[in-house]
């Protein structure tokens, strides 16, 4: 099994959260973008997956802004992916 597939599976498992909203947003983003992610994008996504669920929820639903520009950019990308994705996960 390649390291890439292992990494994808691990990230996929870490996208399993306590809230449906996060499941949908994170899985959708990972599935659509994993193959084209740069190392830096992968690292920041992995970093964000360590956030508590409630913080992630507030960031992704627009109740909170991150002071870290990299995180803000990722949040916008995740939101954009969701808007364009009408398929059920």
């Amino acid at each position: 099994m390649s390291a890439q597939i292992t990494e994808y599976s691990e990230l996929k498992w870490r996208c399993r959260r306590g809230m449906l909203e996060l499941d949908i947003l994170l899985n959708s983003y990972l599935d659509k973008n994993y193959n084209t992610m740069s190392q830096q994008q992968g690292d920041i996504f992995s970093e964000v997956l360590d956030y508590p669920d409630q913080v992630l929820f507030d960031l992704l639903l627009g109740n909170m802004q991150s002071s870290d520009a990299r995180v803000s950019r990722l949040v916008s990308e995740i939101q954009r992916t969701s808007c364009n994705d009408q398929d059920q996960i």
């Binding site: 498992w13 399993r16 959260r17 306590g18 449906l20 639903l61 059920q88």
Partner: protein
């Protein structure tokens, strides 16, 4: 015995939501050695999604007492709740809140420093009188606050966590005592036998049974599936709480507030459909009426969209200013998940599965109880259950808002209290039955074999199961629909025996986890649809259009579904611990 690492503990807890963590903390604080197995990191359990709050008759805002709380819960359950368990829970509620406060939960407060309490539906003063205010909350993140506080307290108390381990099956001795579980590490696929003198199932609900649900992906009824395979029947599984307006195809809630502000439902013809189903209350009719109306429109071909599988919630006539001021959260949700601004376009909605009232039958000490000969409730030695996976039964046919967090905390602690007594009398580990282990191992290793099945893929079967449950066992139920559903679910169960996964790696093999989860869901689906088909009445969340009335003479009893044994029944415990029973009355508000 195969060469698999063995770890020994006094107590094993499967599931790290609020119920599991509350039990673990009580046990660890009593110096028991405790293992908690969780398939996700503990603070990502579904308890985190409980935003509403937790009921307790503290009387901080309005007059209140536990007996009124008990009345509301019995009435809310449509008289299917066990009144001894309900009395126990309502009496224990204030202590449960104060304990959480001491663990660090930052409950919202009033100016005088006492805990703020908000009113919720179904709460009354004086046994059905004026509205009560009974729900304690930590702003809109109560579940998150409780889960994090309990997790931190468990770390302090040295509870041992097996994070990202999947529990496969319960292990027993030859006499049927439960002695722990076989689990495996999701990271590397390595199995481990966790031997324990007691095992508590606290794995949460099974909302993933349905295509449209508010539940997270992790809610696959794992503990219920394990219990079924261990010979424990599931109780009252036909009672599943639905919310009428979930975002179609996605599941998350659009609260009643949207219709309260003037939003209304339309079908594919643009007709305001609730005018036909509830001419007076229209879109503000009760949840079950609105849910059934939506399902009926879709069934009769008046659904919207290319698949005609939803109706539309219109809000745009309210204007952007009103929507932004009064419904900002809903607007954000629609924009994020649908790319639709409700100020400009209608929102596709369909009833969404929310809460599993049924589950693993327990008594109020959390012991799992099963019928043995003439005894309806014989404890299974060493086995306990608490929280949404259990049916104690305090919610009966319908759960009241604010009672689910209370349930997990009160009965998580109660189970731990009984476990402490059990451990004092059972000081040694028993000898495991090798057949029990072999059968669990076979179940896990089935998916590792090349050509593990020659049938359909797990994901195809899962999607079909969810669609069948949504079409045949959600809010629109009658003989014909349910009977067809029973056949379809039985066929899926048969086809699952030949299902396959293509990934046979050991490292982060999420396909294997999903296959094991689906096996659990299939068992829970069988229990749910068989029990729903058998119950010929309407009570609480179980609404039959061919049996529209509640029938206390024939049906005021709990259903019990077991694999291979079909549906059986046992009486409701109508006698409380210390007060008079509440006899059944019409449930009107």
């Amino acid at each position: 015995m195969p060469d698999i690492p063995i770890r020994q503990f006094d107590s094993l807890i499967i599931g790290a939501g609020g119920g599991g963590l509350r039990a673990a903390l009580h046990l660890s604080s009593a110096d028991a050695s405790v293992a908690v197995v969780s398939k996700v990191f503990p603070t990502r359990s579904h308890t985190v999604a409980a935003q509403g709050g937790m009921n307790a008759a503290l009387a901080n805002v309005l007059p209140d007492n536990w007996h009124w709380h008990m009345f509301d819960t019995v009435k809310g359950s449509d008289y299917l709740g066990d009144q001894d368990a309900i009395e126990y829970m309502c009496r224990a509620a204030p202590r449960a809140v104060y304990e959480l406060e001491h663990f660090g939960v930052p409950f919202s407060r009033m100016d005088n420093g006492t805990i703020y309490q908000r009113p919720f539906g179904g709460q009354s003063q004086n046994f059905g009188g004026d509205q009560a205010a009974r729900t304690c909350a930590a702003a809109d993140r109560t579940g998150h606050a409780i889960l994090h506080s309990l997790y931190q307290q468990n770390i302090r108390a040295k509870t041992h966590f097996f994070d990202e381990y999947f529990a496969v099956d319960l292990l027993k001795d030859e006499q049927g005592c439960v002695l722990g579980a076989l689990a495996f590490n999701i990271h590397n696929g390595e199995p481990v036998i966790i031997e324990a003198k007691t095992t508590l199932l606290a794995t949460g609900g099974a909302g993933q049974l349905f295509r449209t649900t508010t539940n997270a992906l992790i809610n696959t009824g794992d503990g219920m599936g394990m219990a079924l395979r261990a010979g424990v029947p599931l109780q009252d599984m036909e009672f599943f709480q639905f919310h009428p307006t979930g975002i179609a195809g996605r599941g998350m809630l659009i609260t009643e507030g949207a219709r309260g502000e003037g939003g209304y439902l339309v079908n594919a013809d643009g007709e305001r459909l609730m005018e036909r189903y509830a001419p007076k209350a229209k879109d503000l009719a009760s949840r079950d009426v609105v849910s059934r109306a939506i399902a009926t429109e879709v069934r009769e071909g008046r659904g919207c969209g290319p698949n005609k599988d939803h109706v539309m919630l219109k809000l745009d006539h309210l204007g952007e200013a009103v929507i932004q001021k009064r419904l900002p959260g809903i607007r954000q949700t629609c924009i994020t998940f649908l790319g639709i601004d409700p100020a400009e376009a209608p929102v596709p909605v369909f009833p969404t599965a929310h809460y599993t009232m049924g589950g693993i039958p327990t008594n109020r000490q959390g012991q799992v109880v099963i019928p043995v000969k003439d005894t309806p409730e014989e404890p299974v030695p060493g086995l306990y259950a608490a929280g949404e996976c259990a049916c104690v039964s305090v919610h009966g046919a319908n759960r009241l808002g604010g009672n689910s967090l209370l349930d997990i905390l009160v009965f998580g602690r109660a189970a731990a209290g009984h476990i402490i007594d059990y451990l004092a009398e059972n000081r040694y580990h028993r000898k495991m039955d090798s057949n029990s282990l072999e059968s669990a191992l076979n179940r896990m290793q089935r998916w590792d074999r090349t050509g593990n099945g020659d049938g359909e893929s797990v994901s195809v079967l899962r999607d079909e199961l969810k669609a069948v449950m949504e079409n045949h066992c959600s809010v629109f139920r009658n003989e014909e629909v349910l009977s067809e559903g029973v056949n379809k679910v039985e066929q899926i169960a048969e086809r699952f025996k030949h299902a396959r996964i293509d990934d046979r790696s050991s490292v982060f093999n999420t396909a294997r986890v999903e296959a094991l989860e689906l096996e659990n869901l299939v068992g829970v689906a069988l229990a749910t649809i068989h029990s729903a088909y058998a119950r010929q009445e309407s009570r609480g969340a179980h609404s039959r259009i061919d049996y529209t009335e509640r029938d206390d003479i024939n049906w005021m009893r709990h259903s019990l579904y077991s694999l291979g044994g079909g549906v059986d029944y046992k009486p409701v415990r109508t006698k409380p611990i210390s007060v008079d029973s509440f006899p059944p009355k019409a449930r009107v508000y």
